[in-house]
Amino acid sequence: MQEVIVGLGSCGIAAGGLAVYERFSELIEPEKDGIILKQTGCIGMCFREVLVEVVEITEDSKRRTLYGDVTPERVDRIVKEHLGEGKPIEEWVVKEEGQVLAKQSRIVLRNCGKIDPFSIEEYQARDGYKALENVLTKMTPEQVIETIADSGLRGRGGAGFPTGTKWRFARSYKDEHKYMICNADEGDPGAFMDRSVLEGDPHSVLEGIAIAGYAIGADHGYIYVRAEYPHAVRRLRHAIAQAEDKGFLGDNILGKGFDFSIKLKEGAGAFVCGEETALIASIEGKRGMPRVRPPFPAESGLWGYPTVINNVETLANVPWIILNGAKALNSYGTETSKGSKVFALAGKVKRVGLVEVPMGTTINEVIYDIGGGTLSGGPFKAVQMGGPSGGCIPASLGDTPIDYERITATGAIMGSGGMVVMDETTCMVDVSRFFLSFTQNESCGKCTFCRIGTKRMLEILERICAGKGEEKDLDVLAELGEQVKSSSLCGLGQTAPNPVLTTLRYFHDEYLAHIKDKRCPAKACLALVEFYINPEKCNGCGLCLKVCESGAISGEKKKVHKIDQSKCVKCGRCITVCRQEAVEKR
């Protein structure tokens, strides 16, 4: 028997996975061919999407072949040669898989890319809902909390608060209702860990929520998910319905007298709603604005009732810990940070994708061993961790082992797991401008420093990028940055200056180059570069002249062309079309 599994996470779909799937379904007749066509979530190697796995199952063995960069056109050949004639097409097989997986430990991603997210049976086949059953039949809520506490699991949303402690707090408050909320409002640019888990393995999250609900004594659960994740939403809805059908959710779960239901709440795209008090306000139908803590949600949260909010990844860990024991998780990681961490590896790195490594793995290992190094092949310049709340860690600190404390010590944060790799073509001023413009846009407007302070910081960065910065601007940036951090009510404001402050710390020279020399070393800030045609390379083909809409390029055929700087608007089209790579920036 053969199985064809098409990767249909958002990454797969974006790469054209649906057309590939369709083509397979046109060509394969399951009954006749004995071939089963399936789909799965993100396999992790997004850089090779569309990925298609062909599994040949015989009585005593399973042979897997993973194809990358599959197109509908290539499907025909795979069907004909591999499925029909049993001859795998070697040149399309993904060869990096071994390297990519070598340093990973897939706990959270244990089922991602392995099972069909629409099939609860497949989840169950991989011990799904056993943890919930164990908990309900064999454990008291206190024992569950102790197990989680012993495992050392810390919040994977970014702050790293010990999950067991949080649950214990919520457990200690007596009230007529309690709520368990899963925060699936992943909003960092470049981060897609939660989305991949929700798309690839929704049941593990549901199971985690139910176990947590049992532990704290909640009767209702919410999943607050970004509306911009349509596939995740669809799969979650489907999964909730399936779980209810099977009696894993709803009244009297598994006949053990535990009532627990889960509702889906789609967020409207405000980044700040990832902050727990703003998230609660949003569910309550109010303006998504953080409020003062204490009281913490564990004491007074949704509708004023004790509430625990955990992130997707945290909750996906839970069933695994229950099944494998606290020690199993404990055995991974460093002294303070246990278990694994999922990262969305992105940016100027060869193998973009989703990776899960044990805590303690170094940044270099992730970038070079798993990610295969930078696109250009040179050393990386910095890695941005933690998204807009995080910071840029320079290559010199590449040996830093990944755990909460050590990442924080660099000025960045663990965050939810965005890891954006940067090389020499990335301007660090521009990067901090980019991240700050994100947070500045997403500020709710409540606190003075976050509302106006980030705006002023952004204006300064924009001035610097435009070559209009002054040296004293750097002092103001640093001063304002510190003040925004210390004088904001919620995590958004408290961390918004991090990208600026870390780049100021590690790439001060680059700022000075912009200000003093009016030069952007990475040649990324358009106001500070000019485009010119290298006469030694130009062959006078005239392509650039044709695409230039501002009429800045002149030159006769077969002769070296020239760019009139007074007319050039730096749109960059000439660079794109030039086959000689003769258009350069300086």
Binding site: F449, I452, S486, S487, L489
Partner: protein
């Protein structure tokens, strides 16, 4: 009511350290609360309001907590044991300063008008222009004189930097600010506003020079209590005002009057005493023992042209020419005169030369007319008088013959690059010399100081001189380098203008005062000013709504006539023109400038707005609402208005729109405020820490003016909310919530907040009126009182004592009610007294007299907050008593269960848990159903007195006919709901029922007595926190009852039949009260309707405005009305007397829950007499003199009569205490059978609330529905 969970857990005091001190706090308190409560520091905050939950957004209140890395907002940080807090250090100050700089970098607003900003003396231009517009000339003058003691002089000669900077320049022409000032200075009574001098300090100051700088400095120093002596070198005071400014511009007699006014506060003057000649600085300090010296000798020396032949005969300095003209009178000039120079002195010299008969006068100036430093209007006037202008030319040599002037050799100039003054530099054109024949040359190219006397001083008392030989001072303090010696005016600045000298004089006075008091010279802190211009030019769209109008010009004499003499050329504007001109002011300055927290902190923290400048948002001001202006430019997004509207009023009219930097506070969907569901309560204005939300005052002009606060009470409904009157001057006042209102306090509705000022100001009856030949005409008090007495007496004598009624709404004070009662009973011998409005609504009500002793409230309004259940039985407070609806809504949010019994879906149904909607007139039956169920369920209160069992049985009997089905059918309400209510009432720990005594729509037979008995049987009457609240028509309905302004009830609630008390009263009043009982068995209503009343004295009531009452009362033969406004009734009266408002007496008002509230007299009644005084005068005229009309005397008498100590009463007034005190509240007396029938009353629209209608009309006119 902020409440927190920590409170529940621990009651032990929390011990912590604040600024190194050991401090104890209550669990759950925030750091800010502890610091404020114990006065440990003055922590700034913008977003915190004690009435709201902590919010923590502005980050002004940040403090340091040991062990916490960042700073924490103290408003949200709860205290913990062992906590160590620092509330002020450099780091904290920097954070606060940065927060302010950020807020102000996006604060597109002007604190004060640019004119005031531009004035060197910073005179409050907008303030005095507003006052002048409204006719408050003395107040306007007082405001000017706070900074400029020479308004008469400035009104004529000021260069008007204010007008040059007036925003109106962007629209059409600047406001004629100086014309307004001149009008005020000429028309206000100066001696009326002479400020009080502070007590003598014993310090002596010598002022050298009697010009504007010296006079100003002397004036302000003398006001501070210092002894000041002016030394003047010339034979008269005034300096350049005398010698430099010609008579036709500044009549010296006017100037002298103004100088006299300054000296009148006690300033010594020594004339013809010159520094260096008669005394030295050293001698003043050492010999004459002056504690400080102010040097203001001016710049009296003329500068020379520096051309060959300058000493020839026929050439003199313009200044000498002007001085000689002033000293010796006009001299005859023959021939052609050339005046060299382009400043005001040059123009003055030229115009004076014209008046001296010169054949031709020419002004020779090296730049063009545009660059002339002289005021353009002066140049225009000179041209009109025939002066020629020779521009772009300069003298190079005087052409002489035998040292006798023949002409000037001049050279043509052209304009080159701008110089440091910004004007283009004149450059000679080579070879363009030409000769200008003339007979006289007056050089007016500048003046200099006379530095000789200074240079002659010994080193230790010699102030430093600049290169220009001016005295060097620290410009912030005007202090020289010699201790105790200050200088100002032209001697410091070189030749400048009057207002600069005045500014110097005042600045020096402040520093000298500081120096004399403390021995130190300190820079005086300038109040922070936010300015729109720092953000670049103002977009013209900002002026879209400004109507264009022409500037007025001063009337002037014809040129041909005026050149013949030295009499004044221009005259003041007429009053209407001046008011129109004042009305052109666009009121650019912020209305909150005097109480803006942002401005206060910006001053305190010395912010630099430009440090963090960046993009600024420019918003349109929302002035759509008739009462409230919303200016988002000034908003700092603290959200206090949003939270107030949502949490205190449960309305959420305002909200945040947009996100991040672009967030703005507006009504939903960004709509204008007028189109929102705003109820105009104005609580948002109250809480706004800046000027983003401001009240529109009913005065046509908005000031802003500084005001003083006085406690008073709202006169619009029987809640009688305490409020503060903010008083500017007689006639200008407005209401705000009392200062320091805590949680759940400080509510006002639109009537109180906006109506209080409104009734004060417009259309009041100003003078007594008497009907003569069918017309009401003004009369004096004497005549009007006598006439009123005559006609009332005539009716009484003709038709007997029962023929006159005294009608009055209880909107007069308790004292006035008492006097009215005395007038009725002791003088007119009638007991027919009371509110006819109440009578028309078949009051006064006595439903509960038998049951609980009197028909009144049995608990306090505050009990609403703590009640388990609030039952609105027919009352609709949102309509009649809005503040009660706020309280109920707030209670509902906190978990109080609200039940509404009303046939209509009233506003509070929204906040209710249960709504029973009986058919109109059946609420009594419905309540009977409830009562019966309670009795039948056996859940009546446990300690029900046994001796009342018989009464209970008979009550039961009277309920026998109604079983639940019958009730449900009759009322049209499901039985389950009625049973639900009954169960709620029996199980609740505390119940507050609210009933409206004056409602004629929902009323049903015996509804109130059934309601009261429900409360009695469930134990909710006679216990703290539970009971009945009755709403009444007028603010002082309860006070009127207590003072005896009610038919059949004497003061203190004693019945008319109480012979002992009546005798006591007769003795006290020295009157015969015996005839009162027997004569009038029928009620007032019956007597009126049967035509037995022939005369009436009416207070603040308009019975003739009600058609039915009009039919009954229309043929009175004597009608005397005391009112604020010309009502229907007033129009029909023979005599109309002006009444006073609550802001015009020191009387008392008692709310319907018996809170005693004191009024403060802050305004003069328009007619000059208070209502109480009117009653006393009337009583005297009727032959019964009342010994005192003073409110305190009346309270003394009243308290002695009713058995409360005067001290207790005064204490209750001060603290808002209850009277009778809490323990004396009505208690269970008897149960009473009830009648069951369904009746429907025709709702009566008696215009009892003239004031409310008046406001509503005003508001409706502005398009607002209230």
């Amino acid at each position: 009511m902020p409440e927190n969970s920590d409170n529940k857990r621990s009651k032990l005091p929390v011990e912590l350290k604040i600024n190194g001190r050991d401090v104890k706090g209550r669990p759950g308190q925030t750091v800010l609360e502890v610091v404020q409560e114990q006065g440990l520091d003055d922590i700034p905050t913008l977003c915190h309001d004690p009435r709201l939950e902590p919010y923590g957004s502005c980050f002004m209140c940040v403090v340091e907590v040991k062990g916490v890395r960042g700073l924490v907002p103290s408003c949200t940080t709860r205290i913990r044991d062992g906590m160590e807090v620092i509330t002020n250090n450099d780091r904290i100050r920097l954070a606060r300063k940065t927060a302010l700089e950020l807020l102000l970098s996006d604060h597109y607003a002007d604190c004060i008008c640019p004119g005031q900003m531009a004035c060197p003396a910073h005179v409050d231009v907008q303030g005095y222009v507003s006052l002048a517009r409204l006719g408050y000339y003395e107040d306007a003058l007082r405001l000017i004189k706070e900074r400029n003691p020479l308004p008469v002089v400035c009104g004529r000669v000021c260069v008007r930097k204010c007008e040059l900077n007036c925003r109106r320049n962007d629209v059409d022409e600047p406001v004629g600010i100086n014309y307004v000032k001149r009008y005020v200075a000429e028309h206000a009574k100066h001696d009326f506003i002479r400020p009080d001098k502070k007590p003598k300090t014993g310090k002596r100051v010598a002022v050298i020079g009697g010009g504007p700088a010296g006079l100003t400095c002397a004036y302000f120093l003398a006001l501070e209590g210092h002894s000041v002596k002016i030394f003047e070198a010339m034979p008269r005071l005034g300096g350049m005002l005398v010698w430099g400014i010609p008579e036709y511009r500044l009549p010296k007699a006017e100037m002298d009057k103004e100088i006299e006014e300054i000296l009148s506060i006690g300033i010594e003057v020594a004339l013809e005493k010159k520094l260096g000649k008669d005394f030295t600085l050293k001698s003043l300090r050492k010999k004459d023992k002056f504690d400080a010296v102010f040097l203001a000798m001016g710049a009296p020396m003329s500068r020379k042209m520096g051309v060959p032949g300058e000493d020839a005969e026929g050439i003199e300095s313009g200044l000498d020419f002007l001085r000689d003209t002033q000293l010796k009178g006009r001299r005859k000039l023959n021939g052609k005169v050339v005046v060299v120079g382009g400043g005001n002195s040059a123009v003055d010299a030229a115009r004076t030369a014209v008046r001296c008969g010169a054949d031709e006068v020419t002004i020779l100036y090296r730049r063009t007319r545009k660059e002339m430093p002289a005021h353009y209007e002066e140049v225009d006037a000179a041209e009109k008088e025939g002066v020629k202008l020779e521009m772009l030319a300069a003298p190079v040599e005087a052409i002489t013959n035998n040292n006798h002037l023949k002409g000037l050799r001049c050279i043509r100039m052209e304009l080159g690059e701008p110089d440091e003054s910004g004007r283009r530099r004149p450059v000679p054109i080579k070879g363009s010399e030409y000769d200008y024949p003339c007979d006289f040359v007056l050089s007016a190219i500048g003046q200099g100081t006379d530095s000789e006397p200074i240079q002659a001083e010994p080193e230790d008392t010699r102030p430093a001189l600049s290169r220009r030989e001016t005295i060097v001072v620290d410009e912030a303090t005007m202090a020289t380098n010699v201790r105790g010696v200050f200088a100002g005016g032209d001697v410091v600045s070189g030749p400048a203008v009057v207002i600069d000298a005045i500014a110097h004089g005042r600045c020096a006075a402040l520093s000298i005062d500081e120096f004399l008091r403390t021995g130190e010279v300190k820079k005086h802190k300038e109040t922070f000013v936010s300015r729109r211009d720092v953000f670049g030019p103002i977009p013209l769209r900002m002026y879209d709504d400004v109507e264009h109008s022409k500037r007025h010009h001063l009337p002037e004499r014809e040129a041909a006539e005026r050149i013949r003499d030295f009499k004044e050329v221009e005259f003041s504007l007429s009053e209407p023109d001046m008011r129109e001109e004042a009305n052109r002011c666009m009121e650019c300055g912020c209305k909150a400038q005097f109480d803006c927290s942002l401005r206060k902190y910006a001053t305190e923290y010395d912010v630099d707005v430009m440090r963090l400048a960046g993009a600024v948002r420019r918003h349109k001001v929302d002035s759509s609402h008739p009462l409230i202006t919303l200016d988002p430019n000034k908003c700092i997004l603290c959200g206090r208005c949003v939270r107030t509207c949502a949490d205190i009023l449960d309305l959420s009219v305002l909200g945040f729109v947009g996100r991040g930097f672009t967030t703005v506070i507006k009504p939903a969907m960004g709509r204008p405020l007028a189109e929102s569901s705003c109820i105009s309560c104005g609580a948002c204005i109250e809480t706004c820490p800046t000027g983003a939300l401001t009240a529109k005052l009913p005065y046509g002009r908005q000031g802003p003016w500084e005001s003083k606060r006085f406690p008073s009470v709202c006169g619009f409904c029987s809640v009688a909310c305490p409020l503060d009157l903010n008083v500017v001057t007689d006639g200008i006042l407005w209401a705000t919530s009392p200062e320091k209102s805590g949680p759940g306090q400080g509510d006002l509705c639109f009537k109180g907040r906006f109506g209080t000022g409104l009734i004060q100001c417009a259309d009041r009856i100003q003078k007594p009126l008497i009907r003569k030949n069918g017309e009401l005409v003004e009369a004096d008090w004497e005549e009007a009182i006598n006439e009123a007495a005559r006609i009332l007496k005539e009716v009484r004598d003709k038709h007997g004592p029962g023929s006159v009624a005294v009608l009055g709404a209880a909107r007069i004070t308790m004292e006035e009610c008492y006097l009215a009662g005395r007038l009725a009973r002791a003088v007119l011998h009638t007991d027919q007294i009371g509110s006819f409005g109440q009578v028309r609504r078949s009051g006064p009500r006595h439903d509960l007299d038998e049951i609980i002793g009197e028909t009144a409230s049995t608990c306090f309004f505050e009990d609403i907050y703590s009640a388990d259940v609030v039952l609105l039985a027919g009352a609709d407070p949102s309509r009649s008593h809005p503040v009660i609806s706020f309280m109920v809504r707030r209670a509902a949010r906190k978990g109080t269960r609200v039940v509404v019994i009303n046939s209509s879906n009233i506003d509070l149904v929204r906040s209710s848990e249960l709504w029973l909607d009986p058919r109109r007139g059946t609420s009594g039956i419905l309540l009977a159903g409830v009562l019966r169920r309670i009795i039948e369920s056996g859940k009546i209160k446990k300690d029900f007195p046994e001796n009342k069992n018989a009464e209970l049985e008979s009550l039961k009997e009277s309920l026998a006919d109604v079983d639940m089905d019958e009730v449900a059918r009759a009322a049209g309400v499901e039985a389950a709901k009625i049973e639900n209510l009954a169960d709620m009432l029996t199980s609740a720990k505390s119940v507050v029922a609210i009933y409206d005594l004056d409602d004629t729509i929902e009323r049903a037979t015996d509804d109130l007595s059934i309601l009261a008995q429900i409360l009695l049987l469930t134990g909710h009457i006679g216990r703290n926190g539970s009971g009945l609240l009755v709403l009444q028509a007028d603010c002082n309905s309860e006070g009127a009852r207590l003072a005896g302004m009610i038919e059949g009830e004497l003061p203190g609630g004693h019945s008319l039949g109480d012979d002992d008390f009546r005798r006591k009263l007769a003795e006290c009043w020295n009157a015969d009260l015996d005839g009162l009982v027997s004569g009038n068995k029928d009620t007032l209503y019956e007597r009126v309707s049967s035509g037995k009343i022939s005369g009436a004295l009416v207070f603040l009531e308009d019975p003739l405005g009600d058609p039915e009452a009009n039919r009954m009362l229309g043929n009175l033969s004597a009608l005397v009305v005391v009112d604020h406004f010309m009502t229907e009734t007033a129009r029909a009266a023979q005599v109309v007397l002006p009444a006073s408002t609550l802001a015009e007496t020191d009387g008392t008002v008692v709310s319907t829950d018996r809170r005693v509230r004191a009024c403060t007299r802050v305004n003069t009644p328009p007619g000059g007499l208070t209502t109480g005084e009117v009653i006393c005068r009337l009583s005297s005229a009727l032959g019964h003199p009342i010994p005192s009309s003073k409110d305190s005397d009346i309270r003394k008498e009243l308290s002695s009569l009713v058995g409360i100590s005067q001290a207790d009463l005064e204490k209750a007034r001060k603290e808002g205490g209850a009277w009778p005190s809490h323990v004396e509240f009505p208690r269970f007396q008897h149960l009473k059978k009830v009648k069951l029938s369904s009746i429907t009353m025709t709702p009566i629209r008696y215009p009892y609330a003239t004031l409310e209608l008046y406001i509503q009309r005003r508001l409706a006119r502005s398009g607002m529905h209230v």
